[in-house]
Structure formats: structure tokens, C-alpha cells
Symmetry: C2
Subunit: 197 residues, 2 copies
DNA sequence: GTCTATAGACCGATAGAC
DNA sequence: GTCTATCGGTCTATAGAC
């Protein structure tokens, strides 16, 4: 696992990555708006100046984290490009769960964004585009006959991702449920329903 | 419909109900913590003192709204007391969608509470108890054979209510979808899944 | 005159800017 | 380290509909 790690040189302390993770954790605890840069620096045990050495603004931290989450989600779409709609929907759901688990803090931050700044609005716009792409997949899967047609594609997409996104409210990687088991359960409920037959 | 309305007497203006609705709307826009009493009063076009005539504290406004949402949800459990687990689960889901639609602002507020005060923690505790009651219903439905047993009851409950609760993010009563159609779609996806058979 | 809703001046505490 | 703006909240008096 250390093959990709460049050897850490110079004065020890946070690097950009570590600082990002720590800051996002604080944002998720106290809210982005509710966290002042001073409070953030204090929580991380360093000075504001040290913080601004790694990021040029509080908002750049936010933007970096949101990009991480959005890149992950958009990557799922790109990776399933060639799959037929019915199977692709399942693959996208599974991939989204994977991204959510692998980047839980940044996705959590993303899902709480309400559009209070230009950065937040851009993130919301990318989310909207992602939703629309998934809606198109659902619609194609309906036309293919793989997905029931008596639920509007847009409503279905929102319900599916409502379920997936709610994972950030309770799922913890340290818990009893592994990521694969979680994805399996989500696919089972979303595609086949909870009712026995 | 006016039979139950006591004739409004005294100086015209907000009554407690109207003020509550307006305040909750503002809280949902800017966040409870992010809304100062001064800002709230300004938004509603009255003075802080007038506000405190109707509510004894900012937190009492929050508590009243959270109680409304929680009373609604708990009422669904009470109303389906005698139904057998399998059907009861469906009835609870349908009822929860109904409560969410009928009390969208207060439920929205409830779902954003993070436990920053005693009032918020009590609300979270009631939510937790509600979740546990539903989990027990799911488990009973599994033992009855009405619900698939290969998904943990607690996980299933969280996924179901993740889907239901996500409605506050996008559903608007003014939109094209009525409350009944919405409940139908939720039940369809939750119980029978999106896949055709 | 009674009822309800309202305004303005003001308080102590504190968080954030400088 | 100090200083100021803002926080939630209070007190007292009044405005308007029946």
C-alpha cells in the first residue's frame, strides 16, 4: 500500500490531504457555515496562517471536497458507459453506494449543500446533471422493458437516490455491515422490493 | 369549514399558528441556528417583542414544530395498531408519506435536526423510538413470511425511511404529483421493486 | 372595556474582528 | 488582548377590532 506514497519530507504536520479530511470532518459536525476559520484552525490544532498555507480560502476546502464527491459519482456514469440500460441502472446504484462508502465525508458534505454561494450552486448544478443522466438511464431501461413503466422515471430516480443518499445518515464503515453487503441490500430492495413472492 | 373557527377578536396580525408556519418556513430556508430572532422578526415584518408574545423562546418555536411532525408519525403507528405486520408495514409507509406531505415544513425541520440542544436531542430520541417500532414491524413481517428475510430488519427500515424521508428534498404539494400518487409510487418501489418480472 | 397583537428601548453574555 | 456587533431575551406601554 505504500508504493504510491511519496516519502514525507520536511517539517511534519498536516499535508493537504490530511488537512482536507480533518476539515471536512469538522464541517460535517458543525456545518460549513457554522464553522469559522478560526474555530476550524483551533479544532485542528494549528494557526490560521498554517491553514492558509494549504488552502487559499475556506471555500477552496469546500470546493475540493465537493469535487471529490462529484468526481466519484460522475466516474460511475463514465465507467458504465457501454452497459445496457437495465444492467447499467444496477451498476450505477452499486457504484454510487461504493463511492458513498469510500468517500463518506465528502459525499455527506455534498448532500448538505443548499446553494448559499457560487461554489455551492455549481455543485448543485453538477448534482442535478447527474440526476438527469440517471433519469435518462431509468427511462431507457423502461423502454427496454427492464424497469416497470408505471412509475415516472424522474420520480423513480429520486426515490432510488433518496434511499442511497440516506446512507450517509447512518452507515459507518466501522460497523457490522461491509460495503458489499450494503450494496447488495440496496440493490435487493430497490430492484426487487421488500415483499416476498 | 368555519364551524370550528372561533371568531378572531382583538388586534389583527399573526396568531400563534400563522407565526409558527411562517417561522418554520424561514428556519427551513436559512437553518434554525442560522436564523437569529432579530432576523426572523424582520423577515416576518414584526418586532422581536411581538414574536415573544406568541412564543416564550426561539426554542419553543422549534419544539412546537418538531412535536407536530413527531405526533403525526407516532399517530400513524397508533392508527395501525391492530393490523397484521405485513399489511401494517405498507400502511405505515403510506401513512408516513401522508404525514410528510401534510406537514412538509415541520417534517423537513425535524429531519435536519442534529442534536445541538436538549430539545433537539429529545426529538432525535423520539425519532429513534419510531424507527425501532418500525423495525419491530419489519421483523414481525419477516417472521410472518410477508417480507424477505435476507435483509436485516434494521437495515431494511433505514432504507425504506431513507427513501420516504428524502421526499422533503424535492416533493412540493403544488407540483404535478398528488399525495396519493406519490404514496402509490413509494409503496410500489419499496415493496415490489423497480424491476419488471 | 376587553381582548389580542404590537413596538421600542434595553439587558447581560459572548463570539468574532482587529 | 481589547473592543464591538450581535445574540437570545425582557419590560412596559400602546394600537386596533369587537
Amino acid at each position: 500500500m505504500s508504493a504510491a506514497d511519496p516519502v514525507r519530507r520536511g517539517r511534519p504536520g498536516y499535508d493537504r490531504r490530511g488537512l482536507l479530511d480533518a476539515a471536512v470532518a469538522v464541517f460535517n459536525e458543525s456545518g460549513y457555515d457554522g464553522t469559522s476559520v478560526a474555530a476550524l484552525a483551533a479544532r485542528l490544532g494549528l494557526s490560521k496562517a498554517a491553514l492558509y498555507h494549504h488552502f487559499s480560502s475556506k471555500e477552496e476546502i469546500l470546493e475540493t471536497a465537493l469535487d471529490e464527491a462529484l468526481d466519484g459519482l460522475e466516474g460511475v456514469l463514465a465507467a458504465t458507459d457501454a452497459v445496457r440500460p437495465g444492467d447499467r441502472l444496477a451498476a450505477v446504484l452499486e457504484g454510487a453506494v461504493g463511492v458513498l462508502v469510500a468517500h463518506l465525508p465528502s459525499v455527506t458534505l455534498l448532500l448538505r449543500v443548499r446553494g448559499n454561494s457560487e461554489v455551492e450552486r455549481r455543485a448543485l448544478e453538477r448534482r442535478r446533471a447527474f440526476d438527469q443522466a440517471v433519469t435518462a438511464i431509468v427511462r431507457a431501461a423502461q423502454e427496454e422493458g427492464a424497469v416497470r413503466a408505471d412509475v415516472d422515471a424522474s420520480v423513480a430516480t429520486r426515490l432510488l437516490f433518496g434511499m442511497v443518499n440516506s446512507l450517509v445518515e447512518w452507515y459507518r464503515p466501522s460497523g457490522p455491515e461491509g460495503a458489499e453487503a450494503l450494496a447488495r441490500d440496496v440493490l435487493a430492495v430497490a430492484l426487487d422490493g421488500l415483499r416476498t413472492r
